[in-house]
Amino acid sequence: MIMAGFLAFFLAIGLGFDYFYLNFDPAGDLADTVVYEVSGAAPRQAGTNIPFGTILALLAGLGLTANGYFNGPRMVLRSTMARRADPENEKEKQFLNVVAEISTAAGLAKPPAGYIIPDADLNAFAAGNSPENAVIAVTEGLLATLNREELQGVVAHEMGHVRNYDIRLMTISAALMGAIALLSDFAGRSMRYGSRGRSYGGSSRGSGRKGGAPLLFLVWAVLVILAPLVSRILAMAISRQREFLADATGAELTRNPAALISALEKIRAAVMPTNAVNNGVAHMCIADPRGSLIEERMGFAADLLATHPPMEKRILALKVMAYQKANAGAARGM
């Protein structure tokens, strides 16, 4: 649903841009609609039915993220300096076995490849657009601290991301965010340089144009100014919802929410930030790699801009799944 809102927001900005600046008019019955191009060239007469601006921006956004889409796993793994799990090492062999088990539980034909990140902090992430070319990576700290059951829980959470195509979803959200940023940037420039002969000036001449055009323009202008912030908030909201879903999928795959609860508590207790993971990959990890500062602060701004829900809320949701009562501390913290 948030994705639908995101799309609607993008379309509002894009189509508004086309409506006000590029002569896109779905009504199409205006013979003398005038619009001023950004460069101040002579105004055109005919109306068009194709929202060029929207389409171009969307293509540009997709183009920017296409690299991430196709080379995503390799780029991410290289940026975190991950290495393939070594079957000779006891703990890494156990990790590979756990990945194979959880893929059986999820019904995937081919288990994702397992990688190890050389970092002492506890974290894990999944990458890859579809279950066929997915990878799951964990840090060395995670392997050293969690027991086999908890490792199953964490791997199941990541497998949930893979199975629910979350990585693909977040890539598309990034494309939309890029497109919105482009559009808002462009529209901002148009507003600054195309100030003469506004399009609403043409409404007095055009017979079919709505009288509410100035108001619509104002609303649209406000949207454009807020666009980068709003699109980020929407994208983060999607990311948080998918984290909850991945937690639930993990509990469903292992039928063992208690193990995931205990793993999340251990992860939360280790407050070191994961330096190996940069911000571009942050939303795919099981815990916010920038340190638990954002998670522990449960204020309004933190809630809006965080990639992950607060750990407390996640643990509470899992405890409900395990038919356990939340303890008094968590209840007060809500």
Binding site: E90, K93, Q94, N97, A100, E101, I102, T104, A105, A106, G107, R148, R255
Partner: protein
Amino acid sequence: MIPLAIVLLVLAAWLVFVFNGLVRLRNQVANAFRQIDVQLKRRHDLIPNLVESVKGEMKFEKETLERVIQARTAAVSAGQSGNAHEMLAKEGMLTQALGRLFALSENYPNLKANESVKKLMEELAHTENQIGFARQFYNDVVTKFNTAQQVFPTNLFASMLGFTPSELWELPADSAERQTPKVNLAV
């Protein structure tokens, strides 16, 4: 006339989608059932061989260990008896690089049998987990298939199209496998 034709067309298209979806689920059910056998066969093929190889390694190291213990105690007792000739002879059998330490865990070869046993235990746990998860997935897919057949508009047509609910995997009520296993570590 035209609206009726459109309605019938839409209905037919919907039936086709429903049929295809149910066919996919039925095939997934069959696949999931056979995947359990895949894991069972893997256990059957792998575990006896692994156990044999670990036992072989343990036996070899047991004999080595026994010989080392004998040589050591012989060397120590020769040293205590003070017979220089005997002592030198026994010493030749075992290098006493670390002097008069009597701890028996010293100087023994680095035995890896316990690591092999650990690997064997991990492999046993992993195999049993695979079988358990395969059965869990089978039950999950059967549930999905049965639900897809029994929800409202589809249940009117499911049996007509030739689909029947599948059975979930379960242990018989009086099966011995429902008993709690007894763990007795006394050697």
